[in-house]
Structures are given as structure tokens and as C-alpha cells.
Symmetry: C2
Subunit: 163 residues, 2 copies
Amino acid sequence: MTASAASVPAVSPALSIPDFVTHWQGHRALTRRVIEAFPDDQLFTFSLGGMRPFGAQATEIHLVDAMTVTAMRTGEWPEPDWASGPTDKAGLLAAWDEVSAELEQHGPHTDPAFFNQMHALPWGEMPGWVAAIYAVDNEIHHRAQGYVYLRALGTEPPAFYER
Amino acid sequence: MTASAASVPAVSPALSIPDFVTHWQGHRALTRRVIEAFPDDQLFTFSLGGMRPFGAQATEIHLVDAMTVTAMRTGEWPEPDWASGPTDKAGLLAAWDEVSAELEQHGPHTDPAFFNQMHALPWGEMPGWVAAIYAVDNEIHHRAQGYVYLRALGTEPPAFYER
């Protein structure tokens, strides 16, 4: 067994690191289209069921994603200032693109050990793969609430299955 | 290198097969709680924004999940009769539990080759990992729409982060 083969955990992957990055980038592209689909004057104001406007949810997705992408590069999880996110569509889209570029550049080179090591997040201690997948799940979950808002506003949302 | 090690693809996993099954079962348990949280008389009737009632969405999740869990066991993707799903809460929960049991029993033993091979699904040809993750994403997406319905009905949905 070579040194290189020895450094790869002997487990059968459902998902490789580049697959995971590709998967997440597909979701990030879709979420970007959902943000864009909102009328500028409704993104941070329209709501249903007493829930937050989609702009506030998308800003939170952005902060969680940014923290996770940075952690994949550095292993550190400094808690963001949750009030620090963008507050208009142009600012949100610009911040979005910065995180996508960081994920594109550094994500595929994430240390494989990251995924099995335990990490201390602001909301608890968990393995890296749980923390990484949580960011994607959180994005899908809140974005889907944006779909309902768009339908209620009479706007056809972007197709869910297109990435 | 042993024969057993040689059979493991030399890629660094973001997610192992048992991790993937654990992840999905956590989501399935949460979706089950969302189904249960709906008042019996609203599950298949209440809707917002011209969208389908949550019962119809949950039945579709069930059929996609069942197809995917069976494919992980058999490699086959026969298209379900989309009109064949359960139409009341008790029937939906019973069908749900059957699929969870199949996933629990067979999922961890999925042939590792399944995830990288191409599969012909009713909606196109794709690698197994894309097809498998799609089922989970589809579940998160439609379930989140159920969250909005529950809030609009004045019911606090189950916590998203509990699995």
C-alpha cells in the first residue's frame, strides 16, 4: 500500500469531496436564482405565517454558508455577527458570489480529515460531514420557504431540479 | 494491498455510505413528525399560493424515497404509479415506516459501485450519488413548504435541527 493510498480512509464513499462541492454549488446557483426572482421591494418585506421575509432568511443562509466554507478551508468556526449581513438584493448577490468563488477555489482541496473530525460550532459539537451537510440542508429548507412566498406573490419560482 | 482494500475506490469521502443512511434517516424522522403535526382534516386539503396540500407533497416524497431505497437495494428504478400513494395520514405514516425499515436494513449494505454508476431514472440518466441525494433534497424542499403551511395554520412545526 502506498503512502498516498494509506492516507485515504478505507470507507466506501457515498459522496466524494469534489462531488459534495459540485452538489453544493448547484444548490447555491439555484438559491441565487430564487433571490433574483423576488421583486426588489418584496425581498426584505414580504412574509407569510408570521415568518421572516425571504431576504432575512437568505442573509442567514449566506452567513451559515460563509462560515462553513471558511471552516472547510481553515478548520475554524468563528461565529458571525448575525446582524452583519447584506440588507438589499445587490449586496446579498455580491456577497453570495464571493462565497461561491471561495468554495470553487478551496472546497475541492478540503483536508479529508475535516469530514470525520469533531468540530465546535456555535450550535454544538459535531463531525465535519454533519456540519457541512447541515449548511446545504439549511439552505434547501429556507429556500423552499422562499418558493412559497414567490408563489403567493404570483411569481413562478426557478425549477427545483435545475442546478 | 488486500483484495478488500483494493475494492474501495481511492477517493476521499465527504460522506460514507452509513453516514448517508444515517443522514437520510434523520430527515425521514423529521418529515414523519411534520406529517404528524398536521391536523388530520388539513393534511390533504390546506394549501397556500395555489400549491398542492402537504399530504399530496408528502405522498410524492414517499414514492420518490421508496423508489430510491429500492434502487439502492436492487439497482432498478421502476417508475411508481404516482396516483397510487396513501391518501390519509394513517396510511401515509404506515407506508413511511415500511420504507424507513427497508432503508435501515439494506441501506448500509448498498453496493459502493451504485453511487458512481449511471442510472436511468424516470427523469433522466445520472450517477447514483446524484439520484440518492436528490431524494433527500426533494424531501427537505417539500417538507419546508409544509413548515409554512403549519405556521399559517398556527401550529409550531418540529425543530428543523432535530433529527
